[in-house]
C-alpha cells in the first residue's frame, strides 16, 4: 500500500467492516462486555467531538465536559421532570449543548490559545457550580439516578444497539465535516489564523460554528450516557473530566480522525481493568500520561503510522 503523504484516512470500507464486527459482538460477548463497549463508544464519540475543535481547530478546549454534562442533564431532566415523549428529551440534548456552546463560544472566541482555554474553564465552572448546588432541581451532589428510559432502549442489548447506531451516524457526520470545505478551512485556521483572515475567512465566526458543532456532538454523547447508565452526576461537568478526555485525544493522536476513539478505548479499558485491582487508578493514569507526553508525542496512531511507513519504505526500497 503506497504510503500516502496526507494523514492516513482509511477508505470507507474499513469503518463498515468494523461496524459489522461491533454489530454482531453482542451475540457472543458477556453482559459486562456489552456494557463496557457501549461505554467506550460513548466516550469515543465525546473525545472525537473534542478533537474536532482541538486537533483540527487548534483551539484550547479545556472544558469540553460541560457540554457533555449539559446534554446528559437536559435528557435526564426532561425524562424525569416532564411527561414529554422520550425522543424529545434525546433531541433536546444536542440542542441544549449547542446553545451553551454558542453562548460560551461567543464570549471565548474573541481570545486565543491560553486565554481562550482559561476563560472557558471559568465559564464552565459556573455551569458546574449551578448544577452542583441547585439541589431541588438537579439533585445537586446526588445527581439523578433511576431515570425512566423507554422500553425499546432500556436494558443491555437494546441500549447497546441504540448507542452503536447513533455513534456510527455521528462518526459519519463528523468525518464528513472534517473532510468538508468547512473542515479544511478549520485546519487552515489552526495552522495560521492571520493568513486565513487575510484570505477572506471570518475566523471568529468559523471558530464559533466549530464550537457549536463540537458542543452538539458532545450533547449527543451526553444523551447516550443516560441511555447506557440511566443516571447523571455533577461530576460530568467538572473540569477534571475535560482534561481526561484531552488525555484520550493526546494518547490516540490528535491529528488523526480515529485517534481519540483509540485513546478512549485504551483509557476506559485501563480504568476498568486496573480499577478492579487497585484503588490507585489516578496514580497510574498520571504516570501513563507522563510517559505519553515524553515518548509518544503524536499518539498511538502516530506511532502506528510511523511503524507502517518505516516498514513500507523498507519493503519498497
Amino acid at each position: 500500500m503506497e504510503p500516502s503523504s496526507r494523514h492516513l484516512s482509511p477508505s470507507l470500507l474499513t469503518p463498515i467492516v468494523i461496524l459489522l464486527i461491533l454489530a454482531c459482538m453482542p451475540l457472543v460477548g458477556s453482559r459486562f462486555f456489552i456494557y463496557l463497549v457501549s461505554g467506550i463508544l460513548v466516550t469515543g464519540l465525546l473525545a472525537t467531538s473534542l478533537n474536532l475543535v482541538l486537533g483540527f481547530g487548534g483551539m484550547y478546549q479545556f472544558h469540553h465536559a460541560v457540554f457533555y454534562g449539559t446534554g446528559a442533564y437536559c435528557t435526564a431532566l426532561l425524562l424525569t421532570k416532564t411527561s414529554l415523549p422520550a425522543w424529545v428529551a434525546f433531541v433536546s440534548a444536542p440542542i441544549g449543548a449547542a446553545l451553551l456552546g454558542l453562548v460560551i463560544g461567543a464570549i471565548c472566541v474573541r481570545l486565543s490559545k491560553l486565554y481562550f482555554g482559561m476563560l472557558q474553564i471559568s465559564l464552565g465552572s459556573l455551569v458546574w457550580a449551578i448544577v452542583y448546588r441547585w439541589y431541588s432541581f438537579t439533585g445537586g451532589d446526588d445527581g439523578i439516578h433511576g431515570i425512566p428510559l423507554p422500553s425499546w432502549i432500556s436494558g443491555g442489548k437494546p441500549a447497546y444497539y441504540a448507542v452503536l447506531l447513533t455513534v456510527a451516524v455521528c462518526f459519519f457526520l463528523l468525518h464528513r465535516i472534517v473532510e468538508s470545505p468547512f473542515g479544511r478551512i478549520f485546519q487552515a485556521i489552526r495552522d495560521n489564523p492571520v493568513r486565513c483572515e487575510a484570505v477572506g475567512i471570518p475566523v471568529q465566526r468559523h471558530q464559533l460554528i466549530g464550537q457549536v458543532l463540537a458542543a452538539a456532538f458532545a450533547g449527543v454523547a451526553g444523551a447516550l450516557f443516560v441511555v447506557v447508565e440511566g443516571s447523571v452526576f455533577p461530576d460530568m461537568l467538572f473540569w477534571t473530566l475535560s482534561l481526561e478526555i484531552l488525555i484520550m485525544c493526546l494518547l490516540g493522536g490528535w491529528f488523526r480522525f480515529w485517534g481519540p476513539m483509540v485513546g478512549a478505548a485504551i483509557i476506559v479499558c485501563l480504568r476498568t481493568y486496573v480499577g478492579s485491582y487497585t484503588e490507585y487508578w489516578t496514580l497510574i493514569l498520571g504516570v501513563f500520561l507522563m510517559l505519553i507526553i515524553f515518548f509518544l508525542p503524536d499518539g498511538v496512531l502516530g506511532l502506528a503510522e510511523r511503524l507502517t511507513r518505516r516498514n513500507a519504505t523498507a519493503s519498497s526500497t
Partner: protein
C-alpha cells in the same frame, strides 16, 4: 485497510481478556462498595475491618454450608457515579452473590435501584437515609444500621425535654443531610408543637471551611441548632465549632456527634456539651459480650472498635445465620431466611424486621465530655432508647411507599 481491522480486533480481545473474574471459584462472593478516601474513611475502615474479623473467624470454622466467604472492596471516593460503576462491574463481571456497603446515602439508593433490577441482595452498612428501607425499600435491600427516621425519633424524644423553642437547621446539602434534618424536625414538632424553625443553611458536601457559615447562624441567635452533617463533615464541623466557640454560645444536636469515630480524630480538641445519638460505645453497656468483642478488635487492629465495627460484625453474623437457615447459597431462600431473623450481638439480641428489612437497633443519647481515662472525649449521662421505640411505624412506611 487490513491494518485498521487488526488494530480494532486487538483492542476487542484486550477488552475480552478484561472480563475474567477476580474471584476464586465456588465461594460465597461478597462485593463491598464504600468510600475509603477522605474523612468518611474513619467510619468505613471499621466496617471493613470488623467484617473481615468475623469472616476470618467463620472461614476458620469451615465457612458457611462448606463454602468460604470471600469479599472484594471498591473505593468510591464518596462519588455516586463511581459507586454505580463499581456495583455494575461487581454484579456483571465478578457476578457476586450479594453487595454490601456504602456510607453515602445517595450512593446507597442508586445501588439499591440496580440491585432491585439485578435481583442481588444489598446489605446497607452505614448510610442512614430512611428512604433506603422506607419509601424506596424493596425485597432485595436490608439495612444493618439505624436510619434517619429512628435517629430523628430518638433525638426528638431527647430534645423535646429541653426548654429550647427557636431552632435552626444546618447541614450537608445532600440526601442524608436533608433526610436527618427533616426527620428530627418533624418528630420534634409532633412531641413539642411550641417549637419554631428560624431558618436553614445548607452547605456543599465536604465544605472545607465552616467559619463563615457558623458566624451567619450565630447572627440569627437561635435557642438551639440541629446540625445535619454526614460522614464527610461531622469531624470538620466540630473542629470549626470549637475554634469559633459555637458550642459555648448555642447548644446544638448532631447525630453521631458522641460516636468514637467522630470524637477520636479530634482528640482533646473536640467541643464539650454537644448532644448526640449513637448506636455503639465500646465502653457502654459493660456486658461480657461487648467487652470480648472490643478486646478481640483491639487485639486485631490496635484500636478500640467504633460504631462501624458493630455494623460490619453483625452483618457477617446475619449473613452466616441466614445462609445456614436457608440451607443453600440461593438468593431467594437467603432473602426469605433473613426476614425476621434475630442474632445475638455485642449489644444484646437484634432482630431484622420482616416488613421493611430494617434492623431494630437501640439508640444511646448522650453529651460529649472530657474524661481523664481517655485522650478523647466520651459520651456521658447516656440514655438508652430501645430499638422498638424508635422504629418508624409500618403505616408510616406504607404511606411513604404510596401504597
Amino acid at each position: 485497510m487490513n491494518r485498521s481491522i487488526c488494530k480494532v480486533s486487538a483492542i476487542l480481545c484486550f477488552i475480552l481478556m478484561l472480563t475474567t473474574s477476580g474471584f476464586a471459584a465456588d465461594t460465597i462472593k461478597v462485593g463491598l462498595i464504600d468510600c475509603y478516601s477522605g474523612p468518611p474513611s474513619t467510619y468505613t475502615n471499621d466496617v471493613r475491618d470488623a467484617f473481615k474479623l468475623a469472616v476470618d473467624a467463620i472461614n476458620a470454622k469451615g465457612g458457611v454450608l462448606g463454602k468460604k466467604i470471600e469479599f472484594q472492596t471498591r473505593d468510591t471516593k464518596f462519588k455516586v457515579d463511581l459507586g454505580i460503576a463499581a456495583a455494575k462491574e461487581l454484579i456483571m463481571k465478578e457476578n457476586v452473590n450479594l453487595l454490601m456497603g456504602t456510607i453515602n446515602s445517595a450512593e446507597a439508593l442508586a445501588i439499591s435501584d440496580i440491585c432491585k433490577a439485578e435481583k442481588i441482595p444489598l446489605l446497607v452498612t452505614f448510610s442512614k437515609s430512611e428512604a433506603i428501607t422506607g419509601a424506596k425499600g424493596h425485597r432485595y435491600v436490608f439495612s444493618f444500621t439505624e436510619n434517619t427516621a429512628m435517629a430523628g425519633k430518638a433525638a426528638a424524644v431527647g430534645l423535646s425535654k429541653k426548654p429550647y423553642v427557636k431552632y435552626w437547621i444546618a447541614g450537608d446539602d445532600y440526601e442524608y443531610g436533608h433526610a436527618i434534618g427533616n426527620a428530627v424536625w418533624e418528630n420534634l414538632q409532633k412531641l413539642n408543637p411550641k417549637v419554631e424553625l428560624l431558618g436553614q443553611t445548607w452547605w456543599k458536601v465536604g465544605e472545607p471551611d465552616f467559619t463563615p457559615y457558623i458566624s451567619s447562624i450565630l447572627a440569627a441567635k437561635p435557642d438551639a441548632v440541629i446540625v445535619a452533617t454526614g460522614g464527610a463533615s461531622c469531624v470538620p464541623f466540630l473542629k470549626a465549632a470549637k475554634a469559633t466557640g459555637f458550642n459555648e454560645k448555642v447548644p446544638f444536636f448532631m447525630h453521631t456527634a458522641t460516636e468514637l469515630s467522630t470524637l477520636q480524630p479530634l482528640g482533646l480538641d473536640a467541643p464539650e456539651g454537644v448532644i448526640g445519638t449513637s448506636n455503639y460505645f465500646f465502653y457502654y453497656p459493660q456486658t461480657p459480650e461487648n467487652k470480648q468483642f472490643a478486646d478481640e478488635f483491639q487485639k486485631a487492629y490496635g484500636r478500640p472498635p467504633k460504631v462501624g465495627a458493630l455494623y460490619g460484625y453483625i452483618t457477617a453474623m446475619f449473613l452466616k445465620k441466614a445462609y445456614e437457615k436457608a440451607g443453600a447459597v440461593d438468593t431467594e431462600k437467603f432473602v426469605d431466611a433473613l426476614e425476621g431473623l434475630s442474632v445475638d450481638s455485642p449489644i444484646g439480641p437484634l432482630t431484622m424486621r420482616a416488613f421493611d428489612h430494617q434492623l431494630m437497633l437501640p439508640m444511646y443519647m448522650g453529651v460529649t465530655k472530657k474524661d481523664p481515662g481517655y485522650d478523647f472525649l466520651v459520651a456521658s449521662d447516656i440514655v438508652t432508647i430501645p430499638g422498638e421505640a424508635v422504629m418508624p411505624s409500618i403505616e408510616d412506611i406504607q404511606k411513604a411507599r404510596g401504597k
